[in-house]
Symmetry: C2
Protein backbone atom coordinates (compact mmCIF):
# COMPACT_ATOMS: atom_id res chain seq x y z
CA UNK A 1 0.00 0.00 0.00
CA UNK A 2 2.04 2.94 -1.24
CA UNK A 3 0.84 6.09 0.46
CA UNK A 4 0.70 8.08 -2.80
CA UNK A 5 1.70 11.61 -1.91
CA UNK A 6 -1.12 14.07 -1.67
CA UNK A 7 -1.29 16.41 -4.68
CA UNK A 8 -1.88 19.43 -2.42
CA UNK A 9 0.29 19.91 0.63
CA UNK A 10 -0.86 23.36 1.65
CA UNK A 11 -3.33 23.00 4.53
CA UNK A 12 -5.30 25.89 3.13
CA UNK A 13 -6.52 23.27 0.66
CA UNK A 14 -8.23 21.46 3.52
CA UNK A 15 -10.10 24.61 4.44
CA UNK A 16 -11.11 25.19 0.81
CA UNK A 17 -12.47 21.67 0.56
CA UNK A 18 -14.29 22.09 3.87
CA UNK A 19 -15.99 25.24 2.66
CA UNK A 20 -16.96 23.84 -0.73
CA UNK A 21 -18.54 20.88 1.01
CA UNK A 22 -21.08 23.33 2.36
CA UNK A 23 -21.72 25.23 -0.86
CA UNK A 24 -20.05 26.43 -4.07
CA UNK A 25 -17.94 29.55 -3.67
CA UNK A 26 -15.41 31.75 -5.40
CA UNK A 27 -11.94 32.17 -3.85
CA UNK A 28 -12.46 35.64 -2.48
CA UNK A 29 -15.57 34.47 -0.65
CA UNK A 30 -13.62 31.57 0.81
CA UNK A 31 -11.10 33.94 2.33
CA UNK A 32 -13.85 36.19 3.65
CA UNK A 33 -15.75 33.25 5.15
CA UNK A 34 -12.67 31.84 6.83
CA UNK A 35 -12.03 35.23 8.41
CA UNK A 36 -15.62 35.61 9.56
CA UNK A 37 -15.46 32.26 11.30
CA UNK A 38 -12.08 32.98 12.87
CA UNK A 39 -10.60 30.06 10.96
CA UNK A 40 -7.83 32.36 9.84
CA UNK A 41 -6.29 31.62 13.23
CA UNK A 42 -5.88 27.99 12.14
CA UNK A 43 -5.09 28.45 8.45
CA UNK A 44 -2.63 30.83 6.89
CA UNK A 45 -5.01 32.67 4.60
CA UNK A 46 -2.95 34.52 1.98
CA UNK A 47 -4.76 35.51 -1.19
CA UNK A 48 -1.76 34.64 -3.33
CA UNK A 49 -1.60 31.12 -1.97
CA UNK A 50 -5.36 30.71 -2.09
CA UNK A 51 -5.57 31.03 -5.87
CA UNK A 52 -2.61 28.66 -6.30
CA UNK A 53 -4.17 26.09 -3.99
CA UNK A 54 -7.52 26.28 -5.75
CA UNK A 55 -5.77 25.72 -9.06
CA UNK A 56 -3.99 22.62 -7.85
CA UNK A 57 -7.18 21.25 -6.32
CA UNK A 58 -8.76 21.62 -9.76
CA UNK A 59 -5.81 19.86 -11.38
CA UNK A 60 -6.19 17.05 -8.85
CA UNK A 61 -9.90 16.77 -9.65
CA UNK A 62 -10.92 17.40 -6.04
CA UNK A 63 -12.87 20.52 -6.96
CA UNK A 64 -14.18 21.81 -10.28
CA UNK A 65 -15.27 25.02 -11.87
CA UNK A 66 -18.97 25.48 -11.18
CA UNK A 67 -19.77 28.73 -12.99
CA UNK A 68 -18.38 32.18 -13.67
CA UNK A 69 -20.20 35.39 -12.96
CA UNK A 70 -19.53 39.04 -13.36
CA UNK A 71 -21.02 41.86 -11.32
CA UNK A 72 -20.64 45.20 -13.04
CA UNK A 73 -17.20 45.69 -14.49
CA UNK A 74 -15.38 44.11 -11.59
CA UNK A 75 -13.07 41.18 -12.35
CA UNK A 76 -14.86 38.00 -13.32
CA UNK A 77 -15.44 35.56 -10.49
CA UNK A 78 -15.00 31.85 -10.88
CA UNK A 79 -17.16 29.80 -8.57
CA UNK A 80 -15.92 26.33 -7.61
CA UNK A 81 -17.68 23.28 -6.20
CA UNK A 82 -16.32 20.08 -4.66
CA UNK A 83 -16.34 16.82 -6.59
CA UNK A 84 -17.23 13.41 -5.21
CA UNK A 85 -13.52 12.56 -5.17
CA UNK A 86 -12.89 15.78 -3.29
CA UNK A 87 -15.38 14.84 -0.60
CA UNK A 88 -13.68 11.50 -0.06
CA UNK A 89 -10.19 12.94 -0.09
CA UNK A 90 -11.19 15.64 2.37
CA UNK A 91 -12.31 12.99 4.84
CA UNK A 92 -9.23 10.88 4.44
CA UNK A 93 -6.88 13.85 4.60
CA UNK A 94 -8.56 15.09 7.75
CA UNK A 95 -8.50 11.64 9.30
CA UNK A 96 -4.81 11.31 8.63
CA UNK A 97 -4.01 14.76 10.00
CA UNK A 98 -5.72 13.88 13.26
CA UNK A 99 -4.24 10.38 13.47
CA UNK A 100 -0.63 11.13 12.65
CA UNK A 101 1.59 13.50 14.60
CA UNK A 102 3.82 15.44 12.22
CA UNK A 103 7.24 16.76 13.17
CA UNK A 104 7.13 20.50 12.98
CA UNK A 105 9.65 23.23 13.64
CA UNK A 106 8.18 26.11 15.63
CA UNK A 107 10.49 29.07 16.00
CA UNK A 108 10.48 28.95 19.79
CA UNK A 109 11.89 25.43 19.67
CA UNK A 110 14.77 26.74 17.56
CA UNK A 111 15.27 29.65 19.91
CA UNK A 112 15.28 27.48 23.03
CA UNK A 113 17.89 25.28 21.37
CA UNK A 114 20.30 28.19 21.66
CA UNK A 115 19.03 29.59 24.95
CA UNK A 116 22.48 29.03 26.42
CA UNK A 117 23.95 31.67 24.16
CA UNK A 118 21.88 34.40 25.81
CA UNK A 119 23.45 33.88 29.21
CA UNK A 120 21.33 33.54 32.34
CA UNK A 121 20.34 37.19 32.88
CA UNK A 122 19.33 37.88 29.33
CA UNK A 123 17.52 34.54 29.09
CA UNK A 124 15.44 35.43 32.14
CA UNK A 125 14.68 38.84 30.67
CA UNK A 126 13.59 37.49 27.32
CA UNK A 127 11.58 34.60 28.74
CA UNK A 128 9.91 37.02 31.13
CA UNK A 129 8.71 39.14 28.27
CA UNK A 130 7.47 36.11 26.38
CA UNK A 131 5.49 35.04 29.42
CA UNK A 132 3.89 38.46 29.69
CA UNK A 133 2.94 38.48 26.02
CA UNK A 134 1.56 34.97 26.18
CA UNK A 135 -0.55 35.99 29.16
CA UNK A 136 -2.04 38.84 27.16
CA UNK A 137 -2.72 36.64 24.17
CA UNK A 138 -4.32 34.01 26.34
CA UNK A 139 -6.65 36.59 27.86
CA UNK A 140 -7.62 37.89 24.45
CA UNK A 141 -8.20 34.40 23.11
CA UNK A 142 -10.38 33.52 26.08
CA UNK A 143 -12.40 36.66 25.48
CA UNK A 144 -12.79 35.90 21.78
CA UNK A 145 -13.90 32.39 22.63
CA UNK A 146 -16.51 33.62 25.09
CA UNK A 147 -17.83 36.05 22.47
CA UNK A 148 -18.26 33.35 19.85
CA UNK A 149 -19.90 30.93 22.25
CA UNK A 150 -22.33 33.56 23.48
CA UNK A 151 -23.64 33.75 19.91
CA UNK A 152 -24.95 30.18 19.99
CA UNK A 153 -22.07 28.74 17.96
CA UNK A 154 -21.77 25.09 18.99
CA UNK A 155 -18.63 24.47 21.03
CA UNK A 156 -17.51 21.77 18.58
CA UNK A 157 -17.12 24.42 15.87
CA UNK A 158 -14.56 26.36 17.85
CA UNK A 159 -12.89 23.47 19.60
CA UNK A 160 -9.58 24.46 18.02
CA UNK A 161 -9.61 27.57 20.17
CA UNK A 162 -9.51 25.32 23.23
CA UNK A 163 -6.58 23.43 21.78
CA UNK A 164 -4.67 26.62 20.98
CA UNK A 165 -5.35 27.94 24.49
CA UNK A 166 -4.15 24.74 26.10
CA UNK A 167 -0.93 24.78 24.13
CA UNK A 168 -0.28 28.46 24.80
CA UNK A 169 -0.75 27.85 28.52
CA UNK A 170 1.58 24.87 28.45
CA UNK A 171 4.26 26.95 26.79
CA UNK A 172 3.83 29.79 29.24
CA UNK A 173 3.99 27.45 32.21
CA UNK A 174 7.11 25.80 30.88
CA UNK A 175 8.79 29.17 30.36
CA UNK A 176 7.81 30.19 33.90
CA UNK A 177 9.29 27.04 35.29
CA UNK A 178 12.56 27.57 33.45
CA UNK A 179 12.79 31.14 34.67
CA UNK A 180 12.30 29.81 38.19
CA UNK A 181 15.00 27.22 37.73
CA UNK A 182 17.48 29.75 36.40
CA UNK A 183 16.77 32.05 39.32
CA UNK A 184 17.03 29.43 42.02
CA UNK A 185 20.12 27.85 40.50
CA UNK A 186 18.53 24.56 39.44
CA UNK A 187 19.39 25.24 35.80
CA UNK A 188 22.99 26.42 35.55
CA UNK A 189 25.28 27.73 32.86
CA UNK A 190 28.41 25.63 32.40
CA UNK A 191 31.63 27.60 32.62
CA UNK A 192 33.01 28.48 29.23
CA UNK A 193 36.66 27.85 28.70
CA UNK A 194 38.75 27.87 25.57
CA UNK A 195 41.17 25.13 24.73
CA UNK A 196 43.19 24.71 21.56
CA UNK A 197 41.37 27.58 19.90
CA UNK A 198 37.91 26.12 20.17
CA UNK A 199 35.23 26.44 22.74
CA UNK A 200 34.74 23.68 25.23
CA UNK A 201 32.28 23.66 28.07
CA UNK A 202 32.92 22.33 31.54
CA UNK A 203 30.29 21.10 33.87
CA UNK A 204 31.12 21.77 37.50
CA UNK A 205 30.83 18.11 38.49
CA UNK A 206 32.81 17.05 35.46
CA UNK A 207 36.23 15.41 35.80
CA UNK A 208 37.47 14.79 32.29
CA UNK A 209 34.41 14.85 30.03
CA UNK A 210 34.02 17.28 27.18
CA UNK A 211 31.52 17.83 24.45
CA UNK A 212 32.41 17.68 20.78
Amino acid sequence: MTVRKRPVSNLLGLAVLGLLLEQPMHPYEMAATLREREKDASFKVKTGSLYDVVESLVRAGWIAEHSTERAGRRPERTVYAHTELGRKEFMSWLDELVRTPVKEYPSFLAAVSYLGALGPERAVQALGERIARLDEQIDEARQAQADVLSQHTPRLFVIELEYALTMAEAERDWARQIVGEIQNGTLTWPELITREGRQVWTDHDETEGQQA
Copy 2:
Protein backbone atom coordinates in the same frame (compact mmCIF):
# COMPACT_ATOMS: atom_id res chain seq x y z
CA MET B 1 12.37 52.60 15.01
CA THR B 2 11.51 50.62 11.89
CA VAL B 3 12.09 46.94 12.56
CA ARG B 4 13.97 46.40 9.29
CA LYS B 5 13.04 42.94 8.10
CA ARG B 6 15.67 40.31 8.67
CA PRO B 7 17.50 39.34 5.45
CA VAL B 8 17.28 35.65 6.32
CA SER B 9 14.00 34.25 7.55
CA ASN B 10 14.90 30.57 7.49
CA LEU B 11 15.64 29.49 11.06
CA LEU B 12 18.35 27.21 9.75
CA GLY B 13 20.29 30.46 9.45
CA LEU B 14 20.22 30.80 13.23
CA ALA B 15 21.76 27.36 13.59
CA VAL B 16 24.44 28.19 11.00
CA LEU B 17 25.35 31.36 12.86
CA GLY B 18 25.41 29.48 16.15
CA LEU B 19 27.82 26.90 14.77
CA LEU B 20 30.12 29.44 13.14
CA LEU B 21 30.34 31.30 16.44
CA GLU B 22 32.19 28.24 17.73
CA GLN B 23 34.49 27.76 14.78
CA PRO B 24 34.71 28.11 10.99
CA MET B 25 33.03 25.30 9.05
CA HIS B 26 31.89 24.24 5.62
CA PRO B 27 28.18 23.60 5.03
CA TYR B 28 28.37 19.83 4.96
CA GLU B 29 30.07 19.86 8.34
CA MET B 30 27.34 22.13 9.70
CA ALA B 31 24.70 19.61 8.74
CA ALA B 32 26.71 16.75 10.22
CA THR B 33 27.32 18.64 13.46
CA LEU B 34 23.67 19.57 13.85
CA ARG B 35 22.72 15.92 13.44
CA GLU B 36 25.35 14.74 15.93
CA ARG B 37 24.00 17.13 18.52
CA GLU B 38 20.39 16.18 17.82
CA LYS B 39 19.69 19.75 16.78
CA ASP B 40 18.05 18.39 13.66
CA ALA B 41 15.02 17.87 15.88
CA SER B 42 14.77 21.66 16.26
CA PHE B 43 15.91 22.77 12.82
CA LYS B 44 14.78 21.48 9.46
CA VAL B 45 18.16 20.47 8.08
CA LYS B 46 17.84 20.02 4.30
CA THR B 47 21.03 20.21 2.29
CA GLY B 48 19.35 22.16 -0.47
CA SER B 49 18.13 24.85 1.91
CA LEU B 50 21.42 24.89 3.79
CA TYR B 51 23.45 26.08 0.81
CA ASP B 52 20.80 28.71 -0.02
CA VAL B 53 20.78 29.97 3.54
CA VAL B 54 24.56 30.17 3.71
CA GLU B 55 24.55 32.16 0.50
CA SER B 56 22.07 34.69 1.81
CA LEU B 57 23.98 35.01 5.08
CA VAL B 58 27.04 35.88 3.02
CA ARG B 59 25.03 38.42 1.02
CA ALA B 60 23.86 39.95 4.29
CA GLY B 61 27.43 40.14 5.56
CA TRP B 62 26.68 38.03 8.64
CA ILE B 63 29.17 35.36 7.63
CA ALA B 64 32.06 35.38 5.13
CA GLU B 65 34.12 32.97 3.13
CA HIS B 66 37.06 31.91 5.28
CA SER B 67 38.99 29.57 2.98
CA THR B 68 38.51 26.86 0.42
CA GLU B 69 40.12 23.46 0.57
CA ARG B 70 40.15 20.37 -1.55
CA ALA B 71 40.80 16.84 -0.37
CA GLY B 72 41.68 14.54 -3.25
CA ARG B 73 39.43 15.03 -6.23
CA ARG B 74 36.28 15.49 -4.19
CA PRO B 75 34.28 18.70 -4.75
CA GLU B 76 35.94 21.77 -3.32
CA ARG B 77 34.81 22.78 0.14
CA THR B 78 34.16 26.36 1.09
CA VAL B 79 34.71 27.11 4.75
CA TYR B 80 32.79 30.01 6.27
CA ALA B 81 33.29 32.06 9.43
CA HIS B 82 31.01 34.50 11.22
CA THR B 83 31.60 38.25 11.02
CA GLU B 84 31.33 40.71 13.87
CA LEU B 85 27.99 41.84 12.47
CA GLY B 86 26.90 38.21 12.37
CA ARG B 87 27.69 37.75 16.04
CA LYS B 88 25.58 40.76 16.98
CA GLU B 89 22.71 39.80 14.72
CA PHE B 90 22.71 36.26 16.04
CA MET B 91 22.21 37.56 19.56
CA SER B 92 19.49 39.98 18.60
CA TRP B 93 17.68 37.43 16.45
CA LEU B 94 17.79 34.87 19.22
CA ASP B 95 16.64 37.39 21.78
CA GLU B 96 13.70 38.35 19.62
CA LEU B 97 12.72 34.76 18.95
CA VAL B 98 12.58 34.08 22.68
CA ARG B 99 10.79 37.33 23.51
CA THR B 100 8.12 37.36 20.86
CA PRO B 101 5.50 34.65 20.37
CA VAL B 102 4.92 34.07 16.67
CA LYS B 103 1.63 32.88 15.25
CA GLU B 104 2.23 29.50 13.68
CA TYR B 105 0.00 27.01 11.90
CA PRO B 106 0.63 23.43 13.02
CA SER B 107 -1.25 20.86 11.03
CA PHE B 108 -3.06 19.47 14.04
CA LEU B 109 -4.59 22.88 14.67
CA ALA B 110 -5.96 22.83 11.14
CA ALA B 111 -7.23 19.30 11.57
CA VAL B 112 -8.95 20.05 14.87
CA SER B 113 -10.66 23.00 13.21
CA TYR B 114 -12.61 20.49 11.13
CA LEU B 115 -12.91 17.78 13.75
CA GLY B 116 -16.68 18.05 13.50
CA ALA B 117 -16.62 16.71 9.95
CA LEU B 118 -15.33 13.34 11.15
CA GLY B 119 -18.36 12.63 13.28
CA PRO B 120 -18.05 11.45 16.89
CA GLU B 121 -17.06 7.82 16.31
CA ARG B 122 -14.40 8.48 13.73
CA ALA B 123 -13.06 11.42 15.74
CA VAL B 124 -12.60 9.19 18.78
CA GLN B 125 -10.88 6.59 16.63
CA ALA B 126 -8.47 9.03 15.06
CA LEU B 127 -7.71 10.87 18.28
CA GLY B 128 -7.13 7.54 19.98
CA GLU B 129 -4.50 6.62 17.47
CA ARG B 130 -2.82 9.99 17.78
CA ILE B 131 -2.67 9.56 21.54
CA ALA B 132 -1.03 6.16 21.17
CA ARG B 133 1.56 7.49 18.72
CA LEU B 134 2.31 10.48 20.90
CA ASP B 135 2.82 8.13 23.84
CA GLU B 136 5.38 6.17 21.85
CA GLN B 137 7.18 9.29 20.71
CA ILE B 138 7.25 10.67 24.23
CA ASP B 139 8.84 7.46 25.50
CA GLU B 140 11.46 7.52 22.77
CA ALA B 141 12.22 11.19 23.40
CA ARG B 142 12.61 10.59 27.12
CA GLN B 143 15.00 7.75 26.37
CA ALA B 144 17.03 9.86 23.95
CA GLN B 145 17.20 12.61 26.54
CA ALA B 146 18.45 10.23 29.23
CA ASP B 147 21.10 8.92 26.85
CA VAL B 148 22.44 12.39 26.07
CA LEU B 149 22.46 13.45 29.70
CA SER B 150 24.27 10.30 30.78
CA GLN B 151 27.15 11.42 28.54
CA HIS B 152 27.87 14.51 30.66
CA THR B 153 26.19 16.93 28.26
CA PRO B 154 25.04 19.87 30.36
CA ARG B 155 21.27 19.96 30.70
CA LEU B 156 21.17 23.51 29.32
CA PHE B 157 22.41 22.23 25.96
CA VAL B 158 19.43 19.95 25.52
CA ILE B 159 16.83 22.07 27.25
CA GLU B 160 14.80 22.14 24.03
CA LEU B 161 14.13 18.44 24.50
CA GLU B 162 12.34 19.27 27.73
CA TYR B 163 10.29 21.89 25.94
CA ALA B 164 9.35 19.51 23.15
CA LEU B 165 8.43 16.83 25.66
CA THR B 166 6.26 19.22 27.65
CA MET B 167 4.39 20.31 24.56
CA ALA B 168 3.88 16.77 23.31
CA GLU B 169 2.45 15.80 26.68
CA ALA B 170 0.15 18.78 26.71
CA GLU B 171 -1.19 17.84 23.29
CA ARG B 172 -1.68 14.22 24.28
CA ASP B 173 -3.48 15.20 27.47
CA TRP B 174 -5.74 17.56 25.60
CA ALA B 175 -6.60 14.88 23.05
CA ARG B 176 -7.33 12.45 25.88
CA GLN B 177 -9.62 14.91 27.52
CA ILE B 178 -11.53 15.51 24.30
CA VAL B 179 -11.94 11.78 23.72
CA GLY B 180 -13.33 11.55 27.24
CA GLU B 181 -15.75 14.38 26.64
CA ILE B 182 -17.01 12.89 23.41
CA GLN B 183 -17.54 9.56 25.11
CA ASN B 184 -19.33 10.89 28.15
CA GLY B 185 -21.47 13.26 26.11
CA THR B 186 -19.93 16.50 27.34
CA LEU B 187 -18.88 17.42 23.82
CA THR B 188 -21.76 16.85 21.45
CA TRP B 189 -22.35 16.98 17.72
CA PRO B 190 -25.10 19.39 16.72
CA GLU B 191 -27.79 17.84 14.57
CA LEU B 192 -27.31 18.56 10.91
CA ILE B 193 -30.31 19.75 9.01
CA THR B 194 -30.62 21.24 5.59
CA ARG B 195 -32.63 24.34 4.88
CA GLU B 196 -32.92 26.25 1.64
CA GLY B 197 -30.27 24.14 0.01
CA ARG B 198 -27.53 24.96 2.48
CA GLN B 199 -26.38 23.30 5.59
CA VAL B 200 -27.45 24.72 8.90
CA TRP B 201 -26.64 23.32 12.28
CA THR B 202 -28.97 23.24 15.22
CA ASP B 203 -27.89 23.16 18.80
CA HIS B 204 -30.27 21.16 20.98
CA ASP B 205 -30.95 24.09 23.33
CA GLU B 206 -31.38 26.45 20.44
CA THR B 207 -34.73 28.02 19.62
CA GLU B 208 -34.22 30.16 16.55
CA GLY B 209 -30.47 30.77 16.24
CA GLN B 210 -28.49 29.70 13.21
CA GLN B 211 -24.94 30.07 12.10
CA ALA B 212 -23.90 31.82 8.91
